[in-house]
Amino acid sequence: MVGRRDFFKGAAASAAGLVVGGSAAPREAEAAVVPPPSVRPPTEADMQAEFGLPRAESRGLALQQEGATAVTESEPASDYMVDVLKKLDFEYAAINPGSAFVGLHESFITYTGNKNPELLTCLHEEAAIALSHGYAKAAGKPMLAMVHGVVGLLHGSMALFQAWADRVPLFLIVGMHRNPTGIVNLPHSAQDLGTIVRDFVKFDDETTTLERFAESAMRAYEIAMTPPRGPVMLVVPTELQEERISRGQRPRVPELARLTPPVGDPNAVREVARLLVNAETPLLMPRKVARTQQGWDAMIELGELLQCPVDPGGYGSWQNFPTWHPLWGNGGSAYRPDVTVAMEMSDMSQLARTARAQGRKTISISAEHVFGHSNIHDYGRYAEVDLMVAGDAEATLPILIEEVKRLITADKRRTLDERGARVAATHREAHAKYVDGLRYGWDANPISVPRMVGELAEQIKNDDWALVSGSQFTIEVQRRLMNFDRHYRYNGDNGGFGVGYDTPASLGAALAHSKRGRLPIAIVGDGDLNFSPGSLWTAAHHRIPLLYVVHNNRAYHAEVMIVQRMSGNRGRGSGHAHVGTTIDNPNINYAQMAKGYGMYSEGPIENPKDLAAAYSRALERVRKGEPALVDVVAQPR
């Protein structure tokens, strides 16, 4: 799609072409065939009026005309900005182009040769920021994203919100004309641009000088990376990017301070350890805890030390424990936890209330407790826990483990091991029962979700795979059929429960994983894919290896159910729930859509017997470094 701002840029180029070069004859010939436009093309004078010329780059041209010495003795300010950003070690910058950050854009592609960061062309700002979201969780560090003032920011705001709710660091630069004069740039600037998204960014600043840009960039990065992590944003005036600075007056590039996360108070952690070790039926509930190998290992160590169930939950959780581990689960319906320790759980109000009423204890360890503010109700309801430990759970785990070790005697060890054996037996039985249930409808058409996931799991079981899509409605089947035995096997979900995350975010995560030699796979809903189909082009254009499996169930099925429920409650007829909720008539052919974007695809696959071969062919492409898509016409969930 060509946006208004791009249209004007195109118009500017055409106008320049008219002035600078080209033969007049072909243009006259064209004019003879094509009727003259009702609106005349913009002239140089129009462009000056629109964009407030002469701009800094025009001043640069003037300098060039005055003599080469002047140019070599000065440099674009955006080159300096790029040097600052290089300190932050960005591998990629996701963008949808916009004239308000063209100074930086040009510096990235010519001053640093489009390397570190390499620009990723996205077809929508929401896709660009969501791509950064998925990448940050997989890579453990932010990706740079750049968008245009107001319009680009508004397009990207949804993805920014999702990253906020998911506590994921993003680094966003918004270009904006500080002194707009034309009809286009006036609505693309604001007195206080940050206010548009301030409710869901951790930090924002408008960088009015280069020194401030440098300091704010370092500060923003530190804030983004300090738990609870989150997106940050710098508004960088177009005029500042395009200024020329004398090399002698180049500000110093600051150094990034080494970061340490907030850790729980040692006395409180000691109390948590005492309660856990003395509990008869403790339960660990990690949520957004371990995105590193160390955190993953620490969760396993704590679970095995205590020999208690570890229940990572579903929605809103990152995977923090191996799904086929004997202790993975909630201990079964008969297991009544007397001490529950939740880590980075956003809302444990119901859990805490119920436990308190029954005389059982609940503890929360979370960086959320040192959190400043939120206008969004993503912090949940107030939880009446017995002990609230303010600190990053992953960073607190090593201290907790040492305290637990110190308290476990030989006698206690035997008791804990007996408990662990009982828990493991319960979990083994539950897993077997669940998997046995998956054979129902195994040969069904439309294809059953277990079949869709199972055939995929079978083909990648010997690969070093990474599932980069969110949980959706298939996560439980995935966990039962796929062994999530590494910290990177699952990348978590959207954070804010908004559709449209999976398709672009999976791509960002795939980028991070493919550099580490892993096989990225994503199971995305057809509803999600339709929010950001242009991501398929980004995947094809940048040759990002990723297998998209489209769970094509042709409706927003959760909504079918809730509309049905509303109709039933109101007693006004129950036969119309499909209106406004289904995506059929006509059915969408996602395989064809992918081909249109230049991606290898298979499907639509309707017969379950065709699935294995389709996956095999698509995976062959992905293993060679290409993206591929398999469109699976499947049961709703």
């Binding site: 396993i300 054979r439 129902y440 069904a444 062994n483 409650n569």
Partner: protein, 133 residues
Amino acid sequence: MRPLSIWLVTVVVCFATIDLAAQAQAARPAGDASRGKQLFEKTYRCYACHGYDGQTGSPRLVPMQMTEQAFVAFLRKPPREAMPRFADVPEQDLTAVYAYIKSIPVAAPPADSVPILRDVLQRRGQSGQTRTR
């Protein structure tokens, strides 16, 4: 065996036979199964949660264990909030849906005949603790 005992046994067997026949009669759905399929898939969209064949969703409907009467009562006033109410739906629609569900054969191959599931169970069984302590 005494005559009285023989008589008693005969009576019990007769009653049992009559009862079984009555149960069989009661178990045979009164509704129109083919119409029920239309209602299940196109009108009331039951498949959205329970799967097109009633056995791939949650909860699984096949094999249907409820009696027709219990099924209709359940739909009129579901005990679970997640389940929509069908209080205003004509009874013949509900009995037709019941008839359709009853007509669906269980399509579940034995677990050990599905290599993927068998392999998962085997590999999960071999997965143990890392014994880091």
